[in-house]
């Protein structure tokens, strides 16, 4: 995959973000959130820059990035499908939902399709337990889902370019 997201423009934005947090106590987490937002991921190239500018060892940064599930080393696909496997959703059958999605898009949980279109993840509770089972595609939320509804939803994004 090309690394077009590592553009000079993005790095310039990152530098600004680092400057903004430089004087904050414990700046690493906020800076990593910014980096994840700017690049869509925190690959080693980005970690190196943060390490130099914040004067934090690269190993430590790598440790933190890989510890938290919201930081990723590679960008996710164009559409991030998250199926909630929180307790409330699970007892209402979200496991079957996620299996159906896997079958439809051919992507395993935690992976991205080779064309970069879909990523699939199992998430733990987005707090919409009243609507269980819940699935989100980027910012769209689908609640009270049944397995039968899944193909229609997936199709909508497959046809979006």
């Amino acid at each position: 995959m090309t690394k077009s997201y590592l553009s000079e423009e993005n790095f310039a934005t990152l530098h600004k973000a680092i400057d903004a947090y430089k004087d904050t106590q414990g700046p690493l987490m906020p800076v990593l959130h910014e980096a994840q937002h700017i690049f869509g991921a925190i690959p080693i190239e980005v970690q190196k820059v943060i390490s130099e500018r914040l004067n934090v060892p690269l190993a430590e940064i790598y440790g933190v990035v890989t510890f938290y599930s919201q930081f990723t080393l590679e960008p996710t696909g164009e559409f991030l499908i998250s199926v909630c496997l929180g307790t409330a959703c699970y007892v209402r059958g979200s496991q079957q939902i996620i299996e159906k999605v896997t079958e439809l898009i051919g992507v395993d949980v935690g992976k991205t399709s080779t064309d970069g279109k879909f990523s699939l993840q199992a998430t733990r509770c987005i707090g919409a337990c009243g609507l269980a089972p819940v699935m989100t595609v980027n910012d769209d939320v689908y609640g009270r889902l049944t397995v039968a509804e899944v193909p229609g939803i997936v199709k909508k994004y497959q046809e979006t370019h």
């Binding site: 510890f67 707090g127 919409a128």
Partner: protein
């Protein structure tokens, strides 16, 4: 000041937002403007009303008409009929499943779901617009902070909180007043207060609702805690998964600063206090207070051994008070109305109310707030409306992955910190997941272990290795390869992990296993000796069979992908279990519905 004759309250919580309440709100505004009513009727986006199942929810005041499941096409009718002509649209009102529907049920105050509740924590949720500080102030907001700063010493504040008997709502139930006292007495020129809003229990969302519906209450309470303990700076550590809550809290902090309720010289008393938001990044363990501290400092969120407790050595090594969102939310009211008022709810050892997130197999999913000491039966049947689709109640899990389950036998147990602990569960943060007879308890335990294995930080061996091995045994059992010896091994391993793990996550991770073993051992035994899953959930243990009553239409045989079904036309068919792959394709094809998984 502008005066409105009616208000339309639209729920803007995560539940209703996911059901499309933002569109409904916009449509109300447009429709009212078209009719020229926008100067007479105000549309307000509020926090959560609690009954998420009925979303999107709109309430029209002054009547208090409770419109549920509001659809786009309903908006015009409500505007034309109710708001223009004053005629309540009866067929769009919430139908109370628990009581025969009558005309009296037009007001929200008559809905059974709310009748047994006592809203203290959620007092302002679904009432005020959380993005306007003026509305919070109009409901006595920031008066408690004023009282504390002008009339009370830090010792008075700590004593009042101690007297109230308030216990930490994050799960442990540690007395809040004592925590504050430790921090007050700790030596140090710099101290911190922190709010734990890292609500990681999957299936719990009360903290989110408070932050979304009443964010100023948390800011005010943190300022009070800061005054009492001598801190000048506060951190709110909140899950990044809660974007609406993060946004509203940010707005609230900015407004409080603008009004001089945060910043320097608050109320002209020389007291300085500021709050900063820190985002979590998706690690359940960060809800543990020492892990939360590590995360704020910019490290991996790994717990540290206690002592030293955060009250002595917390954020950046300074004395720190950490409380949960719900704990903070009642502080201003305790200060204003007094400890005795707070003690008038709940039980002797667990005063006050508790918010629970009701979810799973229950009719009224949503948030409920009840006095401590209410029985499970009242929560599940009177408020929750019982189990849907005619199924039978089997168990309720409290405390999420750290808690345990309670069964039919415990329905009349009053809920408080101590009774739950005595039964092998725990209060936890307040998730309450109901399961029915179609849920397998072994699989349920496996589900929670799968979660803790994922979320274990890996620092201590008992948790890192122990939970993994427990999960392996559970997977062995649910796939039908378990033995009776495995059950014993599982139980002894669970006790070892409980006794030796470093932090709360590891120490409580075995609870779901131990409590299901305690109350549902027969299900474990059925899995290993009979190789059957009584609830019909564990796939590997099911077989698809054709019962008597087959008319021999051959529809099932034709759809079977592996040719496992045989039989003559117009005669009983049978499934060859050695060939069957349990795909279930035949089940919906049977016109007589005699093919079942069992």
């Amino acid at each position: 000041m502008e005066y409105y004759r009616a208000h339309v309250l639209v729920c803007g919580g995560t539940g209703c937002s996911s059901s499309g309440s933002a569109t409904i709100e916009e449509m109300f505004k447009t429709a009212l403007a078209e009719k020229g009513l926008d100067k007479e009727v105000q549309v307000v986006r509020t926090g959560c009303f609690g009954l998420c199942e009925a979303g999107p929810i709109c309430i029209v005041y002054p009547e208090g008409s409770f419109y549920s499941h509001v659809k786009k096409e309903d908006v015009d009718r409500i505007v034309n009929e109710h708001l223009l002509k004053g005629r309540i649209v009866h067929d769009l009102l919430y139908v109370d499943k628990l009581e025969a529907h009558s005309d009296i049920e037009t007001s929200i105050t008559n809905v059974t779901f709310y009748k047994k509740q006592k809203r203290v924590v959620l007092k302002n949720c679904g009432v005020i617009n959380p993005e306007k500080i003026e509305e919070y102030i109009a409901f006595d907001g920031y008066q408690a902070l004023g009282k504390v700063l002008t009339q009370m010493t830090p010792e008075d504040v700590v004593n009042e909180v101690k007297k109230s008997g308030l216990r930490g709502r994050g799960g442990g139930g540690f007395p809040t007043g004592m925590k504050w006292e430790f921090a007050m007495k700790s030596q140090g020129d710099i101290k911190y207060v922190a709010c734990n809003a890292d609500e990681g229990d999957p299936g719990a969302f009360m903290d989110r609702s408070v932050l979304e519906g009443d964010p100023h209450a948390i800011i005010e309470a943190m300022a009070i805690a800061a005054y009492a303990t001598g801190a000048r700076k506060g951190y709110v550590y909140i899950r990044a998964e809660y974007p609406i809550a993060v946004k509203r809290l940010g707005i609230a902090i900015a407004q409080a600063k603008e009004y001089g309720l945060l910043g320097t010289d608050i109320f002209g008393t020389g007291f300085d206090f500021d709050v900063e938001i820190r985002l979590g990044a998706g690690a359940f363990v960060c809800g543990e207070e020492t892990a939360l501290i590590a995360s704020i400092e910019g490290e991996r969120g790994m717990p540290r051994p206690k002592p030293p407790f955060p009250a002595q050595k917390g954020i950046f090594g300074k004395p720190t008070v950490i409380n949960n969102v719900e704990t903070y939310s009642v502080i201003p009211q305790i200060i204003l109305k007094g400890a005795d008022w707070f003690r008038s709810f709940g039980t002797e050892k667990s005063p006050g109310t508790k918010v629970f997130a009701l979810g799973g197999k229950i009719n009224n999913t949503g948030l409920v707030e009840i006095p401590m000491g209410t029985t499970l039966r009242e929560v599940i049947y009177d408020i929750g409306g019982g189990i849907p689709n005619g199924h039978e109640f089997k168990a309720v899990q409290t405390g999420g992955p750290s808690g345990g389950c309670l069964t039919k036998d415990h329905l009349d147990t009053p809920i408080d910190f101590d009774t739950l602990t005595a039964l092998g569960s725990m209060m936890g943060s307040g998730g309450m997941i109901v399961v029915d007879d179609t849920n397998c308890m072994v699989d349920f335990a496996r589900f929670f272990l799968d979660f803790t294995v994922d979320e274990s930080c890996g620092k201590c061996v008992p948790c890192r290795e122990g939970t993994k091995r427990m999960l392996e045994i559970l997977e062995k059992i649910t796939s039908g390869k378990g033995t009776l010896e495995d059950i014993d091994k599982l139980e002894s391993l669970a006790h070892s992990v409980k006794d030796s793990a470093l932090c709360g996550l590891g120490q409580t991770a075995p609870n779901p296993v131990l409590s299901t073993l305690r109350y549902f051992r027969d299900e474990y035994i059925a899995h290993v000796t009979d190789k059957k899953c009584p609830a019909g959930m564990c796939k590997d243990l099911l077989s698809v069979v054709i019962l008597d009553g087959c008319i021999g239409c051959t529809a099932c045989a034709r759809v079977c992908p592996v040719g496992a079904i045989s039989g003559e036309v117009k005669k009983q068919h049978v499934i060859d279990q050695t060939k069957c792959i349990k795909c279930g394709a035949c089940i919906p094809k049977c016109p007589k519905q005699v093919i079942v998984k069992q």
